[in-house]
């Protein structure tokens, strides 16, 4: 029997718009929103950084690189940039150290324990960052009434109150708190995707628990680590509220400096140049983390099918 002998009545068809067209149409509102309220203002602000602002205050031509020159040549501005990088670096470092045990508890714990840990990690996110930072002001206060200093006094350690408030360390401590969930969540997701039998295989082959972690779990969690490091580093370097509230003048960071330039000095080109540097830091962090932590490991992991 040949195919042509089969009955060949077609099912009735209806008009269907091309799938691509439907997809694009559904994307348009979001794309339009981003274009109008993100891309356009960003381009305008960044263009300010290469325009001039005479005494009159009107920003316009001619093009000039003077803002960037001032930014680079001034030791004060360089100091702020270095502070920003240092705070972001230490924050991401301490966050990842604290995040691993939490992420492992979430990924490997019994369901109830895992869910409780997850809630505890995520819960602070529902409290405003301003409220949380006020909390840190109370804890870290430099006078004898700060909780930390009171505690040290009660425990009988040293006589002079420690001066943590209004330093880089105050920003690092508060930022670690603020950004910890953003490190824990991608790490926990990455850890949960690692086959439990891999760790067991390592243990059976003679690895004590810590070596199994270093050789197997740690490298296989690199994708989550990269995601967490990138997010935490970029957000810390770009943060404004926390350094503004606990950093003081010794912990001046780029975000606060930018706000001062625009709202206090009305120096829009300078503020725009600082914004450009901050964008550069965020992009650089993404590329840098990938290069530093992940380049070899990530390439291998991708080939091996890990996510």
């Amino acid at each position: 029997m040949t195919a042509s002998a089969l009955p060949t009545t077609d099912m009735p068809t209806r008009f269907a718009p091309p799938r691509l067209l439907v997809g694009v149409a559904m994307l348009l509102p979001a794309l339009g929103f981003l274009l109008a309220f993100l891309v356009l203002p960003s381009v305008i602000l960044l263009s300010y950084s290469v325009l001039s602002q005479p005494q009159s205050g009107d920003i316009g031509l001619p093009f000039t690189a003077s803002s960037y020159q001032r930014l680079i040549s001034s030791p004060a501005y360089r100091h702020v940039a270095m502070t920003t990088l240092r705070v972001a670096l230490f924050t991401s470092l301490f966050t990842s150290l604290l995040a691993y045990p939490l992420a492992m508890a979430i990924a490997y714990g019994r369901p109830l324990f895992s869910r409780i840990t997850m809630s505890l990690v995520v819960l602070p996110l529902v409290v405003s960052v301003v409220v949380r930072t006020y909390g840190w002001q109370l804890v870290l206060g430099n006078s004898g009434t700060g909780v930390l200093n009171w505690l040290l006094h009660v425990l009988g350690a040293g006589t002079a109150p420690v001066q943590v408030m209004f330093t880089e360390w105050a920003i690092v401590i508060a930022s670690v708190h603020v950004f910890l969930p953003l490190m824990v969540l991608p790490l926990a997701a990455s850890l949960a995707r690692i086959e439990p039998s891999l760790n067991e295989a390592a243990r059976v082959l003679g690895a004590p628990a810590w070596r199994a972690f270093v050789r197997i779990t740690l490298p296989l969690s690199v994708p989550g680590l990269i995601a967490g490091l990138t997010i935490v580093f970029s957000l810390t370097a770009a943060s404004y509220v926390t350094p503004q509230m606990v950093g003081g003048s010794r912990g001046l960071m780029l975000g606060v400096l930018l706000e001062q330039q625009i709202n206090t000095s009305f120096d829009w080109p300078m503020g725009a140049a600082i914004a450009a540097v901050m964008v550069g830091i965020a992009l650089g962090a993404t590329a840098g983390v990938e290069w530093l932590v992940g380049r070899r490991a990530a390439a291998r992991l991708r080939r091996s099918g890990a996510r």
């Binding site: 295989a201 059976v204 082959l205």
Partner: protein, 375 residues
């Protein structure tokens, strides 16, 4: 690439294994209930049973991945019950291979040696020899993801034996492979295990795998040992109804002892007909007899006189052609099922044509009757 190319040889330091009173309780369920078992050095023993029978938990307690609630594990006469997993010197294969995806094949195989502090220079020839043994010498630099399932499990085997383990544990190692590959891997693993003389414990739910690979088979059910014996003992002399039905197919016939004659007991079957049995476990009046379907032959009811041994009338329900054999499903007059496997020998037309509804005389040699405990 062959083992000749390298100086190193894969050897083993096999030891015997004993577990005594091994018990594991999870919450309120008893997963393993007081298992006692000795495995001689170089022996391969299969733990076989349905899922949830406790075989995997038993294996994991031997490995040290699960802590026993009670009982002891002895490897080479040494009590290792409280020894942490990484000090037990065990090789293990997992169902999902558990190769480290970020390490090359050679790095995977080298892992156990590294953990034992073997020098880099000494590791290389050992790894090459182990990979040659599983015929993957040329795959050393690949990542596991670039290998097929069968190749991955061979890498896992090389990784497990290169450390010269006292014991090789196989946790459903071939479950994820397709049938043909599984059969060739069964033979390959068995050969390597015999050649190296490694003591091995295999967990499987596949009875063919257990019969093919094991020196002895341990049937587990509900956390207990149901029967321990060679494949032949387990198959031809099942102790209980569970064993007889789990290993191969079996017909179960209830009967009552009605007397003795020269050859043994005479038994009236509840489905009609009679059976003779020389094996007997005492003077029980009621007996349960196991008869393998391949022992049963069928004839027209009128010819019953020509067929000696044991037999009874049955009604054909369904006839299924299965290649090697034709399976005939029947019911007895008391409603119990009866199954016969009639071999399809080459060139021989598949016996007489039995079709559904036919009354037949099912008979078998009396030596095929085997009493089992109704458990």
């Amino acid at each position: 690439m062959t083992a000749k190319a390298t100086a190193a040889k894969v050897t083993s330091r096999a030891a015997d294994l004993a577990v005594s009173g091994l018990t594991k309780v999870f919450g309120t369920t008893i997963a393993v209930d007081g298992i006692t078992l000795r495995i001689a050095s170089g022996e391969l023993v299969a733990l076989l049973g349905p899922s949830g029978c406790g075989k995997t938990t038993t294996l994991r307690m031997i490995a040290g991945l699960v802590e026993p609630t009670e009982g002891d594990v002895l490897i080479g006469g040494l009590r290792v019950t409280r020894t942490p997993v990484h000090r037990r010197n065990i090789g293990m294969l997992f169902q999902n291979y558990a190769l480290f995806p970020h390490l090359s094949v050679a790095e995977n195989v080298a892992f156990g040696l590294e953990m034992r502090g073997v020098s880099k220079a000494a590791i290389r020839p050992k790894v090459a020899a182990a990979l040659a043994l599983v015929q993957l010498g040329s795959f050393a630099d690949r990542l596991p993801a670039a290998l097929s399932g069968g190749q991955q499990q061979r890498v896992a085997l090389a990784r497990a034996i290169v450390i010269e383990p006292a014991l090789l544990l196989l946790d459903e190692p071939l479950g994820a492979l397709d049938r043909n590959l599984r059969e060739s891997m069964q033979v390959e693993i068995r050969q390597i295990q015999k050649r190296l003389g490694i003591t091995a414990v295999l967990v499987t739910h596949d009875q063919e795998e257990a019969l093919t690979m094991a020196d002895r088979v341990v049937i587990m059910n509900g956390g207990r040992l149901e029967q321990v014996g060679t494949p032949e003992e387990i198959y031809s002399r099942p102790r209980t109804r569970f064993v007889a039905s789990f290993i191969g197919a079996s017909n179960f016939l209830h009967g009552r002892v009605i007397g003795h004659d020269g050859s043994g007991l005479r038994i009236a079957l509840t489905g009609g007909g009679e059976a003779c049995m020389s094996h007997s476990d005492g003077e029980t009046k009621e007996v349960l007899i196991s008869v393998r379907p391949e022992a049963v032959s069928l004839a027209a009811l009128e010819e019953r006189a020509q067929h000696g041994g044991s037999g009874l009338p049955a009604t054909v329900q369904q006839v299924v052609y299965r290649g090697q054999a034709t399976h005939v499903h029947m019911t007895l007059d008391d409603g119990a099922p009866l199954l016969a496997f009639l071999p399809n020998r080459q060139g021989e037309k598949a016996k007489e044509d039995f079709s559904p509804g036919n009354r037949v005389w099912a008979s078998w040699p009396s030596s095929s009757n085997w009493p089992v405990a109704d458990g």
